[in-house]
Symmetry: C3
Subunit: 361 residues, 3 copies
């Protein structure tokens, strides 16, 4: 059972809105989260495992006011009272959710958290993700149910594949059967959409913000766009073809190691904003709405159509090139605005109109 | 017949220089154009087809003061009087010119336009482009007149090819004959220069600006450099070799979907500035000069020689990563300067010295 | 014999700390060096060969106050007195060192220079570089002593190879023997680490700066991270496989033509900071310490391990995208801080605490 909103809202009724502390785990996009929170006037707390990360001394503007050092992530559950006493609002990020486990985060972590924790159920299950996005009208690559239906390139993902390993691509049916072998491992399969990858990062507000595009459930902004570096697929071609490398025992992988800033052709912006709006509207219908940052991860084909292969329902590391703002945020905000800062700004705004509950669960 | 400068100059004699409105179509590089015009104190007007693009609400700093909504681009011709009453100066961009048609833009659009509209004749015709650039001393890939002359890789472009499709590359004569097939389609052919692509964006002024390199005909600045994303060629290698993909019916294409910011090795700057100067000087000789933004699109080989394969004679979308300035513009201007803003700044400057006619045609 | 520190320190005893001039050769990273020096209040002098580079007029904020025009780099040696009279501190960069020759720079150039000139001996010799980095605990690709030991892909570098040519990669032993041919040229060989390239740029201070991570010998900061463009390897795949191209007489090369800004996955920062610290600590042990900018050039594998294949012991051109600061420097400094400016800031700081000798040799 998802931690109930009512329970969390009771907790924040006792919070002193002048003494809120923004907290997250010290990884992923934590630097911009702490820096942004401080820019918006909040206290900050970093959750670290084992010891305080030494390199934070080199980033004094992002170093949290305080650290909570734990032996493992599960210990956070025991620290709820202590954190609540400090008026903590947790900011979920990819590392935070992965390290704790999405279910534990969703069902056990009784600490006020920015955003709608129900999104965790919808993004972690591929079928529900498709119900959400495709159901809302967002274009996605087709699912291929059976190998006999392979007519075009496919991407095959083994069950339990994690962190960019356990995938393969096959140009056609023959290649599929060669690569799948006889291990009997379970897998899912999607059309492989040939094109160039873009990861536009949006911010959904439950409020009708006046510097945003209005949606049924609030409003939405485009914060920035990146492209992920994926090792070892990105540079494998320098060595030989993927087939050659595979023969020699090298398996192409898609492990993310960093991010490159990009911009999208301006005539394509209407479509991605439309997809963002549909994502927000359908989220409202399905689970009380998308709140805060999300990213539509997709591919532009040479027919200039965007196919979304995945959604992340919280801040992604692809926002890290934009700690001082992006070419898009420059057109929206009067200040240099990272996504990390935007989260803090949303909390600040919600407090100012006495609606903090709208953004916390 | 190109709209005569004299006719346009008569129109702007009646303009109130304190009430100029900067206008362009809502696509391509319009966001930075509107934002930049406002930064320089101008009113702005966006020309949109069908309806006001909803996503502009998310970019309030770039949202024009006013929209002119049309059913199609041809209608702009009927709106000349209305636009002239608003003291409009049009900013041509790639979408604007393509959607209207270069000839109609050049010969029929009797509305004051930034830059020299004669450039449209020189950049849209491959032979005239070569007369301009090679004639001026800019290095270009060699033209291959006949397939029997193919000794090195070539890029083949079918007549009427548009938007990144209708090209192919061939490593050698054999591959050329395989790929060209027997369709009898007409084509042109150039040496394929192997190297890394750079798209340096310059700004030519007819004035001897004091923060610019002086040319015979005025002065020139380097605003920024990008690299274009081209789908599907950019990521095709992840699937298999281009030959493999082709066998399966996939045709490599070079459709631009976005842009990545880059910088050039500093020791290479003298050459690209030299090419920019030659481009400006020859333009003066051939057609009264290059005025405003232009881009030399080329390739650096491993011999560190730059080959220009194309010129764009107006603002390119590759300036979009630099809405808050670039590593180069930071060395030239005291303000954050996009190319869009630079256009407005040039108009502002021309007004201040009572020479608006020099930059309008 | 390396120019003695004592001799240089005697020279700067006579320097007027209020009239320091920052000088370097007009190439590589000179624009940010001059701009940054001026931002920190120093006079600037550009050393140019033949004539003053015309394009500097387009970068007035980076144009040095004064030029010293020489016929060749060797002439700098004759200008020592003149430069010393102007209270010059030289900033070494890649072009400066390469054009003069590392040995002449190190042993003959009796002009006060920023940093520790002993580093030149340690980075120009592959064996000493390995003693320094591997000896300090930094992970490097394995050296392969004999072709019979090739089990995985290797990168082979001919003796005297320069500027990105004279390398080749081989997937296996067979390919190695095919490619090495029978020329009898001498070579060295390393494990080829498959992954994505990152070039993190650090700044080592001999002082315990309060916005830096402390090391045994002072402190260290992360300034920025780039990825190098390498022609023609980067875009060769668009033409055909590397094998195909080679058959046709094209040799893959790794000539640097520019740089793309990137960020690294945040969870990988502890490791690169750890490597930076180890680099500094070992430098202290071996040769009185690393002072100023350095870059650990490496590859992240899909096991998320960083392998450093080279170190540059001074400012690299990869800092050029970050003339107005980087996503990392934004977390460290209150001002927009390039590496060029950081050098000037270090000199300014050293003067303020009366310790200029600590950063000059």
């Amino acid at each position: 059972m998802v931690v109930s909103k009512e329970e969390i809202h009771k907790i924040i009724e006792n919070y002193d809105p002048k003494k809120i502390t923004i907290a997250t785990v010290c990884s992923h996009s934590a630097l911009q989260t702490f820096y942004g929170a401080r820019q918006e006037g909040f206290k900050t707390l970093g959750i670290a495992i084992g010891s305080i990360p030494k390199f934070y001394d080199a980033f004094p503007k992002a170093k949290p006011d305080e650290f909570l050092v734990l032996n493992n992530y599960a210990e956070i559950l025991d620290k709820a009272d202590e954190l609540i006493k400090k008026n903590v609002i947790l900011i979920p990020n990819g590392s935070f959710v992965e390290y704790m486990g999405a279910e534990i985060f969703r069902d056990k972590l009784k600490i006020p958290t920015f955003g709608n924790r129900k999104v965790l159920s919808w993004e972690s299950d591929r079928n529900k993700q498709r119900e959400w996005l495709e159901g809302g009208g967002v274009r996605m690559p087709a699912v291929i149910k059976h190998p006999r239906d392979i007519k075009n390139p496919v991407i095959v993902k083994y069950f339990g594949a994690k962190g960019g390993r356990g995938f393969f691509v096959a140009k056609n049916k023959e290649e599929f059967y060669n690569k799948i072998g006889s291990t009997g491992q379970k897998f899912t399969m999607q059309e492989y959409v040939l094109g160039t990858r873009y990861y536009p990062q949006f911010f959904a507000s439950p409020f009708k913000r006046d510097n945003a595009m209005q949606t049924k459930s609030g409003s939405v902004q485009l914060m920035s766009i990146d492209r992920r570096d994926e090792t070892n697929i990105d540079e494998m071609y320098k060595m030989g073809t993927i087939e050659d490398m595979r023969k020699q025992g090298f398996v192409p992988s898609f492990v993310v190691t960093g991010n490159v800033p990009v911009v999208l052709r301006e005539s394509l912006l209407p479509e991605i904003f439309d997809f963002a709006e549909k994502t927000c509207d359908k989220a409202k219908e399905l689970f009380d709405g998308m709140i805060g940052p999300f990213c539509l991860e997709g591919v532009y084909t040479d027919q200039l159509k965007f196919y979304v292969f995945e959604i992340s329902g919280r801040i992604v590391a692809g926002t890290n090139p934009f700690i001082s703002g992006s070419p898009y945020s420059a057109l929206t905000f009067d200040k240099q605005m990272s996504t990390g800062r935007r989260i803090a700004e949303e909390i600040r705004y919600a407090i100012s109109i006495n609606q903090l509950k709208e953004v916390i669960s």
